[in-house]
Amino acid sequence: MFYRISGQFKTDYRSDHALFRVRQDAVLMGIILLFAWVIFPFTANEFVFQALLIPVLIYSLAALGLNILTGYAGQLSLGTGAFMGVGAYACYKLVTIFPEMNLLVAIGLSGFFAAAVGVAFGLPSLRIKGFYLAIATLAAQFFLVWLFEKWAWLYNYNASGAIQVPTIDMFGIRVAGPTASSFVQYYFVLFVVTIMTIFAINITRGHIGRTWKAVRDMDIAAELVGINLLRSKLIAFAVSSYIVGVSGALFVFLWRGAAEPNLFDIPLSFRVLFIAIIGGLGSILGNYLGAILIVALPVILNILPEMVGLEINAAVVEHLNIMIIGALIIAVLIIEPHGLARFWAIIREKLIMWPFPH
């Protein structure tokens, strides 16, 4: 009823290539953007900013980067956490060497360091595929975390071995450091994530995105329609690692405030991979849905008993939480192995048909 698409005709290819081919999709997107840009920030309190909004956005961005590599180009990677670390450490070095540098610029540049490292570790992808490539990226994971620990120059020879985010102002407004307000940080993160998402949408619907999908679906045929496999895979590694690197810089500078090398260890890689898989590989929307399930839902479940006035032991809540999330993940993967994004696609299809069964 609300999703009736009849009567929306496309009369030229330009309108057929529009991002939202159905008007209702555009309206829905507008509502989501309204919530993200206006309603959430003006109603959220400190806890909601720090425990829900900001981390969901940052994890979504990391998953988006991984999804470009794994979901679109078909190259499995287990090194996401380390590539986030490269972005974070690069950003740390940039702001300590050039204290005058705009933080936005520093974060944008730190992505390039991650991209360069990603390309270097992506080189074996021409020869090895699938799980074997995953093992090769695992090497990157262990090597880089080891490097963060041993190369003292990276953390400016701190006695603690950790990086501490300095206080950074941008246009007279404090954006990073212990005294920055969550409100400003949220907008900063939202701005970066929005821009990155637009870029990701553009690139995946264009011809480079098509080459990635071709390589993913059948690499021999891709080669025989004239696609240069090495080039296509390396572009995927570069773009993916760039986004992951930016998310890593945001992760430390706009959320955590400080980071030790083991923060970027394999649990972080797995977490981002789970978000991408549960959200739906080969989809942009899925990353956000996945992040909401994996990052936000446990936090909400944790405070839920207290909010409704139930007195349950904190440890019990914690354990129940793990059980519920685990069961949900398994349920989602059994009911719809293609992830939450496919769920939405099916619901949307049903809505278009509704109230008719066919």
Partner: protein
């Protein structure tokens, strides 16, 4: 519609109709001790439909793989469009104007029909990462320009109704047709078809035969095809080359080949 296609640039590759487009000279290919092809020579002339036939394991598909650069022959040379070459990568062969379809359908299963055929034009799409990020402007214009060409092919192959269907969900006959569409999107001067009718029923075979003839006549595309259905081969092709055990045993018009004793023996067997 047909007029715009007829004037398409891919008919014009600097070779006169009837002249030799591809010349295969003394090609030998072996895998270890197995000789797949031994000392085969034949030519394909501009504008003709050339069939390669032979019993199973005769080396037909290997021959196509050699022509489009997937295998490197140990001996012999290949002359294409007047240029001689020994070895090349498949994507370079595409750049020179050789497109092919596969015996087992090799489509991009997660992508729609439209995207599959658009992927055939990857070589021609030049806008780089920067323009792709912006999308609006040059990248979109390029996309639309190629979309128009692709729609001509979709129209020609009568697959308009499945434009947005993921090809993995299509029946086999249509998948074969989409694969032909993808090869046509490359605007090839030589089109290699590896068993285009395999596994089809009579009606689908008739459809496919009509498309092969139309491609040849309307686009002026030279076609080299492998096929087991003798009726189809004899009706479609201008000249036939017959392989058996990696050797050429006959070459000529369908009538000559049909009456050749070696060919009859190869197919029906001889008493030893």
């Amino acid at each position: 519609m047909a007029d715009t296609i007829q004037s398409s640039p891919w008919t014009d590759d600097g070779i006169d109709p009837g002249a030799v487009l591809l010349n295969v000279d003394n090609i030998s290919l072996s895998f270890g001790g197995v000789k797949a092809i031994s000392d085969i020579s034949f030519d394909v002339c501009k504008g003709e439909i050339r069939a390669i036939i032979g019993p199973n394991g005769a080396g037909k598909t290997s021959m196509l793989n050699v022509i489009n650069g997937f295998y490197q022959p140990q001996e012999g040379t290949i002359m294409f469009r007047g240029k001689e070459r020994r070895s090349m990568k498949p994507h370079q062969a595409v750049g020179q104007g050789i497109a092919r379809t596969f015996q087992n359908v090799a489509l991009f299963k997660g992508m729609s029909t439209l995207d599959n055929i658009m992927a055939g034009r990857s070589v021609m799409m030049k806008r780089n990462l920067f323009w792709q990020l912006l999308w609006h402007g040059p990248a979109l214009n390029e996309e639309i320009e190629h979309r128009e060409k692709v729609e001509e092919i979709i129209d020609f192959l009568e697959i308009k109704h499945i434009r947005r269907t993921p090809v993995g969900n299509l029946p086999y006959g249509l998948q074969k047709r989409v694969e032909l569409g993808r090869a046509l999107a490359m605007e090839p001067s030589l089109l290699l078809l590896d068993e285009p009718m395999a596994g089809m029923n009579l009606e689908e075979k008739e459809d496919m035969s009509r498309f092969v003839l139309d491609v040849n006549q309307q686009f002026g595309t030279t076609i080299a095809l492998i096929e087991h259905d003798m009726g189809v081969v004899m009706d479609l092709s201008d000249r036939v080359v017959v392989l058996d055990y990696g050797k050429k045993i006959a070459d000529g018009t369908p009538d000559e080949v049909r009456n050749n004793q070696d060919v009859i023996d190869a197919y029906l067997g001889v008493p030893h």
